[in-house]
Amino acid sequence: MTLSIFYFLSFLAILSALMVVVSKNPIHSVLYLIITFFAIAGHYVLLNAQFLAAVHVIVYAGAIMVLFLYVIMMLNLNAEVEPHKSVWLKSAATVAGGTLMVVLVGALRTSASVGSPLPADANIGLIKTLGKTLYKDFMLPFEISSILFLAAMVGAVMLGKKETK
């Protein structure tokens, strides 16, 4: 049962990820990316990372995708002004992507199997367990992440806000 769900989710994720790249309309790409994110959230549930699955849906499928839509609308991508890449650029991109795939396949073939996908403690991904680990063992990285937030806020305001005097 779990295995068939895994295969279904993997198929859905890879298919919609391909559609993100292939589809001509950038808005359709964003919609396919949302399907990919939902499939990956399903994978997280299968791996006993339930909190991560919920956060993935809320933040990525919800908030980040809205940002993606905004960026696409700001870029003003019309069908008429769509830049057409030359044959040279296309073949160079194909060679570069193919090389990356060869490297990835080669690296994954020699790596050892991770064994059973389910960890021994099935409660490991629950919000309570995660909170205990985050606020006891990883206290400093948590505090540093707030500085990251601060930097992101200042950066966004600096870039997006016109200076008025």
Partner: protein
């Protein structure tokens, strides 16, 4: 022994998801099949208060929308950090409160900066 939370416990959520998607798909197909179809040029035209539409809808819009959206995402992630903290609130005790206090002070400094800069003001 605590109750083990297995992926199979999330099966009700799968059913809910299927029902939600199925409802939308059914209504879309049903309205398409049941509703009358008149495909004249006037009927297919986009209607905007009776004024003839000009150009297309893909015009670049103000970066102010994007600024508000990106600030929303930042505070959204911040609230997610509070969920695991709130669940373990009693167990973490004073250390937890101090930790969250430092976190919130840094974030509220950012919020104060945003307000002072007038980033949320709509000129």
């Amino acid at each position: 022994m605590q109750h083990q939370d297995l992926p199979s416990d999330y099966f009700p959520m799968v059913i809910q998801f299927i029902v939600a998607v199925g409802f939308i798909a059914t209504t879309m197909v049903a309205t398409h099949l049941l509703g009358p179809k008149r495909k004249s040029k006037i009927k297919l035209e986009s209607f905007e208060c009776g004024i003839e539409s000009q150009g297309n809808a893909r015009i670049p819009f103000s970066i102010k929308y994007f600024l508000v959206a990106i600030l929303f995402v930042l505070f959204d992630v911040e609230v997610i950090f509070m969920y695991p903290w709130a669940v373990n609130f009693k167990e973490l005790g004073t250390t937890g409160i101090a930790e969250m206090f430092v976190f919130m002070v840094l974030l509220l400094t950012g919020f104060y900066y945003i307000i002072k800069k007038g980033a949320l003001k709509w000129e």
